[in-house]
Amino acid sequence: MELELNTVQQIIEIVGEDNVLTNLEERICYSYDGTFQRGIPELVVFPANTQEVAEIVKLANKEKFPVFPRGAGTGLSGGSIPMSSGVALVLTRMNKIKEINSEDMLAVLEPGVITGHFNQEVEKLGLYYPPDPASLKTCTMGGNIAENAGGPRAFKYGVTKDYVLGLEVVTPQGEIMHTGGRTVKNVTGYDLTRLLTGSEGTLGIITEITVRLLPKPKEIRTALVIFDKLEDAASSVTAIIRNGVIPATLELMDQIAIKCVENFNHLGLPLDAEAVLLIEVDGGKNQVEEDIISIEEICQNHHCRKIHIASLAEEREKLWKARRAVSSAIVQLKPTKISEDATVPRSKIPEMVKRLREIASKYNLHIPVFGHAGDGNLHPNILADKNNKEEMERVQKAVDEIFHAALELRGTLSGEHGIGIMKKPYLQWELGEVGIEYLRAIKRAVDPNNILNPGKVF
């Protein structure tokens, strides 16, 4: 399909010439995301406001071209990839924080606001917006809502969904709709706010977001715990939770991840250790102290080698460095990273870790394992070279087995990265034909012309 010249002209009339990219070189920049998927859009469009978004979507329904919403393009499931046609609709110009309200503890913002920037702005007022995807320095709030992003703090504080109070949305037919609102409680009609959160740009374009805020925690303590045995680290995770301690963060890194990070950053991590846990507790002073003592005890009972504890911000940052570096460090091993996101019930972490190791050795692949162990959301990353066909076949088989293992342990395909294109083939394993038909019925009902992000999710 090709966009008619006349259509391009109409789009330019809506957003202005400066806000449309037509050159191939420029369009290529919007052909990829955090995965290895590619698809070059015919046109890249940067709307300035809700009205412009609505007009473009209306036009799309008239002229029948697909629209692919895009934030910063950091997604890890291929969600924003234009399927080699239509318009990439990039929301980064709509980046105003419209309101931060301490009294009602909420904020209203546009979708293009960068998550990390927003975190900082609310913290200046003693407030807190917990979702903190590791990509927070670049990803957008709109992308976070569309993916229902998580992050290290999700263990205690939940994911994006738990903070969205209301949305302004341009529907797939170009109408402007408001869902939810400014109240914490709202049961008026179906919960369209939650339906749209995590809908990966397929059910509406998010043009304004109202989120709930919390008071900023008073004290934070961070512990970096080194284990000789991966199993001990995994069972410490379950033991900590069983003891009623709810850390804000409970992150795990395995030996391959440790080695890559150490190679990359020289932080002094022991290369022979099989696992590291990064644990952070927050709250009142007494509480964090009590929590950190219990954590120390538990880890010692599980034969940890060493514990570093930090309370000052700079020292804590040092401990965090290793975890933050993982994603970038592991690509040293191989150029292609297939980042998985399979999630299991918390108590199944030791079992899942064991299975991942078996899969890695069975298919002779590098699979560093790290991630949000506290909520069962591990990120096994398969490292390979996509130009090596034979290896990629083994990767495919390993991915299949990873999903099988997760579902067998009563887990899910995706804890936070979404389905996009990457996990589409597996959806039926989890939801069955009935479930997929149900999803389709919803999509067809609200987007009869299949305009928004076609080809994604199912």
Binding site: T183, V187, T188, G376, N377, T412, L413, L431, A445
Partner: protein, 462 residues
């Protein structure tokens, strides 16, 4: 009337003991806890005992285009279970087993007919709680509270039912069974169908199994009663407490009309001369509780409040008995109590309270207001008499104005009771055309024959 044939089919599937057709028996299912609603008789009342039976009932209904009204305990306050177009009322109370308590992963799997309190009693042995606690914990079912997304007294700190539902098994309008969500805390696999079902009031599917999140029980708690000579002072205390970064588990308000009525009814020693009281509970670790309690005291005193601390368990129980007595007490004053559920952003509570007083004055009505002030969820309750036509006209006008006021203040029609039949006509005021159209298209797509709880939430003809 349903044909004999359909009744026979139902009986063949469920057995005689699970199919009621006698008028006297059916009358019990022609209404629910909602006042000022039309009654309507079902043709048959059935009680399936397992998912397969629910499936078969829906298949029969679907084949014959007969409506199915799912019912838990019938305690909802928006006319959600009234069988408006007759047909089948399906009672879920026989599916009342707690299937699993998974203390390690902090969750439980239950059937929809389990009573909320029974779940709480069962998990208490593991030091856990299931926080959502509507006033009806002892009677309402898990299925009904999931279908309504019920709130409760602890909503401010702990959230509402939606925040605790992790997974569901649902029988769809076409009789097929679907599972969504699961036992993981995180799940972004495709659309969030779990959240779509929570609060869908029996119009999208029948919930046959529920996985809920549990949390460790708080170690200690402390309760207060703060009384105020002016409504403004009480309202300022609410926002003041939150602004001091304390989030109490419970922060409830009662106005003078409610205080007097409750005192008259329950004799628990409430200050009848106060314009308003706040009931506050903080919970958590002992040090945290001590600190938060201090902050609460400080704010209340700064706003001219008189504080009474519940020193013993008995005193605490008294306070909460008083709060739970609010609705039954108000209900005794007059034959009909019209209870609303309009919710506003917390900072707008003072304005909402004032608006309610003005509306009461304008229409010369008795309105007692109480509710979950901490989350902006007030329950203005109009005390009236259904048989007095002239007064009911004034009541309806007042209700219109209450919703107008809530929406103008950035609020919503319903914080926790749902839309049902009672609030249907106001839906467009909040959702506007585009929103109503979206709701309608979802309902039509998922229940094309309109057999599940027809006549509720949205007018499909529109």
């Amino acid at each position: 009337m349903l044909s004999r044939k359909i009744i026979d089919e139902l009986t063949a599937v469920l057995g005689k003991e699970n199919v009621l057709t006698e008028k006297e028996e059916l009358a019990c299912y022609s209404f629910d806890a909602t006042a000022d609603m039309p009654q309507s008789m079902p043709d048959v009342f059935v009680t399936p005992t397992c998912t397969e039976e629910v499936q078969k009932v829906v298949e029969i209904a679907s084949k014959n285009k007969v409506p199915v009204y799912t019912r838990g305990s019938g305690t909802n306050l928006s006319g959600g279970t009234i069988p408006l177009k007759n047909g089948i009322v399906m009672g879920m109370v026989k599916m009342n087993k707690i299937l699993e308590i998974d203390a390690e992963n902090l969750n439980a799997v239950v059937q929809p007919g389990v009573i909320i309190q029974d779940l709480n009693d069962a998990v208490a042995k593991h030091g856990l709680i299931y926080p959502p606690d509507p006033g009806t914990v002892k009677t309402a079912t898990m299925g009904g509270s999931v279908a309504e997304c019920s709130g409760g007294l602890r909503g401010l700190k702990y959230g509402v039912t939606k925040d605790y539902v992790m997974g569901l098994e649902v029988v769809l309008a076409n009789g097929k069974v679907m599972r969504c969500g699961g036992k993981t805390v995180k799940n972004v696999t495709a659309y969030d169908m779990v959240k779509l079902f929570v609060g869908s009031e029996g119009t999208l599917g029948i919930i046959t199994e529920i996985i809920v999140k549990l949390i460790p029980a708080p170690e200690t708690r402390k309760s207060f009663l703060a009384s105020f000579k002016s409504l403004d002072d009480a309202a300022n205390s609410i926002t003041g407490i939150i602004a001091s970064k304390v989030i109490p588990a419970t922060l409830e308000i009662m106005d003078n009309a409610t205080i007097k009525t409750v005192e008259n009814y329950a004799h628990v020693g409430l200050p009848t001369d106060a314009e308003a009281i706040l009931l506050i509970e903080v919970d958590g670790l002992p040090e945290v509780v001590a600190k938060e309690a201090q902050a609460v005291e400080k704010v209340c005193k700064e706003n001219n409040g008189q504080l009474k601390v519940a020193e013993t368990d008995e005193e605490r129980d008294n306070l909460w008995t008083a709060r739970r007595a609010a609705l039954p007490a108000l209900a005794q004053v007059s034959p009909t109590t019209v209870l609303e559920d309009a919710t506003v952003p917390r900072s707008e509570i003072p304005k909402m309270l004032k608006a309610l007083q003005e509306i009461a004055g304008k229409y010369d009505l008795k309105i007692g207001t109480f509710g979950h002030a901490g989350d902006g969820n007030l329950h203005p309750t109009i005390l009236t008499d259904e048989r007095n036509k002239e007064e009911m006209e004034r009541v309806h006008k007042a209700v219109d104005e209450i919703f107008d006021a809530a929406l103008k203040l950035g609020g919503t029609l319903s914080g926790e009771h749902g839309i049902g039949m009672a609030k249907m006509k106001y839906l467009e005021n909040e959702f506007k055309e585009a929103g109503v159209e979206a709701l309608r298209s979802i309902k039509k797509a998922l229940d094309p024959e309109n057999i599940l709880n027809p006549g509720k939430i949205i007018d499909l003809e529109g």
